[in-house]
């Protein structure tokens, strides 16, 4: 059952805030020099520090701090001139020290925003703060063995937590925010932002209130959503649940709920019998950091052009359509590919068409991204030029592209080897044309009697006979000539 939430329909307003955890792709963990790597055999990427052995101490990874500043700036935030780390104390087997090193009151960045397009609106979603912290280990539950197994490889992976203001007003907006955020962060190159690999995780806070009320309703926290789609579905479910509770006279209980994607519903977390008292206090093992404005300026100078800016520039500089620009910007490397191709062949719309059309289709079919495609900007440009010059037809050009990618050869070689060159030679074409004319006397009569458009049918037939290799423009020209001269 599809659920549509619109303000006019519901007497309630939905208020959503999102917390996104992003694993940074630094070479080493945040507080020790173990490799920051995914997918290793259990407990092979650990040291006394990230195992939290007695007597060990943390030392902050320089790159993690710079990445944190990068994210803060990309989200239009203020970088705090003074930052520190705090201990968040709680007990869980995947937390070796019995506390997580995080940031409480002096995070790396605060008061930022992200412009998000949702439907026809563009909204500014406030980013309350972005802070650095360490990841915990992984717990696997072995029901048959009636035990749980802990792997500490992931402990100490650098995380940046991005918290929005409660500015999102619908599950759809939340979904759009996540996609926009992911794209922006991918451009920074500081994380692969992959929810499947767990390098991007999202928790949501949701509440509802009567339309017009300014105070917030009781919120519930949702966890365990493994895709952006699941976030949207979970929020839709939860909003409905809140509405049901309230309209039946009850009160929403503040609690943390896990989303069960299979059953498409939320359930209470049994282990959270007691509200956590995290007893935050400044970590005495880590010193405070003053961030010089020169450092901030240095990071800012190295920021890449971000997707939204690039999108607007593509529209104005190259006159592209929204559709094409969106596709190009959706992957930073696609956008770079586009501009590299432009250097060889300054025909923006043509290149954009090819990238947004046939190339994109190849990417989807092969399930790869442009980065791993065996195609260079020059290679694409060569092909486009050949189509434009009439060496091959547009249709055949797409075939050539497929062959180029399959065989890692350039257009020239493919066309030669497979004999795909478009036939434009008059005499060769006349052979086919005469056949088609002979086979379709009725159509010829139509053309003669003043229906020149019927020539299209004959062109189609001739194209078929030529195996698609005839130049359709030429065909049209010659057919008309043949018929009118007859």
């Amino acid at each position: 059952m599809a659920f549509k939430e619109t303000k006019s329909m519901s007497q309630f307003e939905t208020v959503i805030g999102l917390e996104v955890h992003l694993q940074l792709n630094t070479r080493t963990k945040i507080f020790c020099s173990c490799a920051n790597q995914y997918g290793c055999a259990p407990n092979t990427n650990v040291c006394p520090v990230c195992l939290g052995l007695p007597g060990t101490l943390p030392v902050l990874n320089h790159q993690a701090l710079l990445s944190g500043i990068k994210v803060g700036l990309a989200l239009n935030g203020e970088i705090n001139a003074f930052i520190k780390f705090d201990r968040k104390n709680y007990y869980y087997p995947d937390l070796p020290k019995g506390y997580q090193i995080s940031q409480f009151d002096y995070p790396v960045a605060k008061n930022g925003y992200l412009k998000v397009k949702s439907g026809s609106e563009e909204k500014r979603i406030g980013i309350k703060r972005a802070h650095l912290e360490e990841d915990a280990g992984k717990l696997i539950h072995d029901n048959s063995g009636s035990c749980s197994l802990v792997d500490y490889n992931r402990t100490g992976t650098p995380l940046i937590e991005i918290v929005t203001e409660p500015d999102l007003r619908s599950p759809q907006e939340a979904y759009d925010y996540l996609n926009t955020l992911k794209l922006t962060l991918q451009y920074l190159g500081i994380s692969d932002c992959d929810m499947e690999k767990g390098s991007l995780r999202c928790d949501a806070n949701v509440s509802i209130r009567p339309a017009g009320q300014t105070t917030l309703g009781t919120k519930t926290e949702l966890k365990n959503m493994n895709s952006f789609r699941a976030v949207k579905t979970a929020l839709e479910y939860e909003v409905r649940r809140h509405e049901q509770v309230i309209t039946s006279g009850g009160k929403v209980e503040q609690e943390t709920l896990l989303w069960d994607d299979e059953k498409a519903q939320t359930r209470t977390m049994r282990s959270k019998e007691q509200a956590h008292d995290y007893r935050y206090f400044p970590d005495p093992d880590l010193v405070p950091f003053t961030i010089d404005y020169k450092v901030i300026d240095g990071v800012r100078a190295e920021l890449p052009e971000l997707p939204q800016a690039k999108f607007l520039r593509f529209l104005s500089q190259y006159g592209l359509s929204d559709y094409d620009a969106n596709i190009l910007v959706a992957d930073g490397r696609m956008a770079d590919f586009f501009e590299a191709a432009l250097k060889e062949y300054p025909q923006a719309k043509k290149i954009a068409n090819w990238l947004a059309g046939p190339v994109l289709m190849e990417l989807n079919n092969r399930k790869v991204s442009i980065g791993s495609l065996k195609l260079s900007p020059k290679g694409l440009v060569d092909l486009i030029a050949k189509v434009e010059e009439g060496q091959v037809s547009n249709l055949v050009g797409k075939e050539v592209l497929t062959f180029m990618l399959d065989e890692a050869k350039d257009a020239e070689d493919i066309i030669k080897e497979k004999g795909l060159a478009q036939v434009s030679d008059d005499s060769a074409l006349f052979v086919i044309i005469d056949e088609v004319i002979a086979q379709n006397p009725a159509v010829v009569e139509q053309i003669k009697s003043g229906k020149p458009n019927a020539a299209g049918f004959l062109v189609g037939q001739a194209m078929k006979k030529s195996g698609g290799r005839a130049n359709p423009k030429k065909l049209n020209e010659l057919i008309t000539r043949r018929i009118t001269s007859a």
Partner: protein
């Protein structure tokens, strides 16, 4: 604010320590006595005073992002209480 038995029960749970009933009275008494003693700090006017988290003014200590060798799985598990399949084993955790 005197420390009550219930306070001690709450604190003990927070600290993951089981205080049996027969020891509760003793702990409550000694904790109450110590808290009473530290109450004298309330007498001081500290509104304009900054807290000291670090006695020696060191700041901005950073580490280069260079990989150093980790422990082997064997070394890591050598200290383990219980291990299974290369991991640390604990009682089944219910979420």
């Amino acid at each position: 604010m005197p420390v009550s038995k219930n306070d001690v029960k709450y604190i003990a749970a927070l600290a993951r320590i089981d205080v049996p009933e027969d020891k509760l009275e003793g702990f409550t008494k000694s904790l109450a006595g110590i808290i009473q003693y530290v109450e004298q700090l309330q007498k001081l006017d500290v509104d304009q005073v900054k807290p000291t988290s670090h006695a020696v003014p060191v700041g901005n200590v950073l580490r280069p992002d260079k990989v150093k060798p980790s422990l082997t799985n064997q070394e890591a598990l050598a200290i383990a209480v219980e291990a299974k399949d290369g991991s640390f084993k604990v009682p089944l955790v219910i979420e």
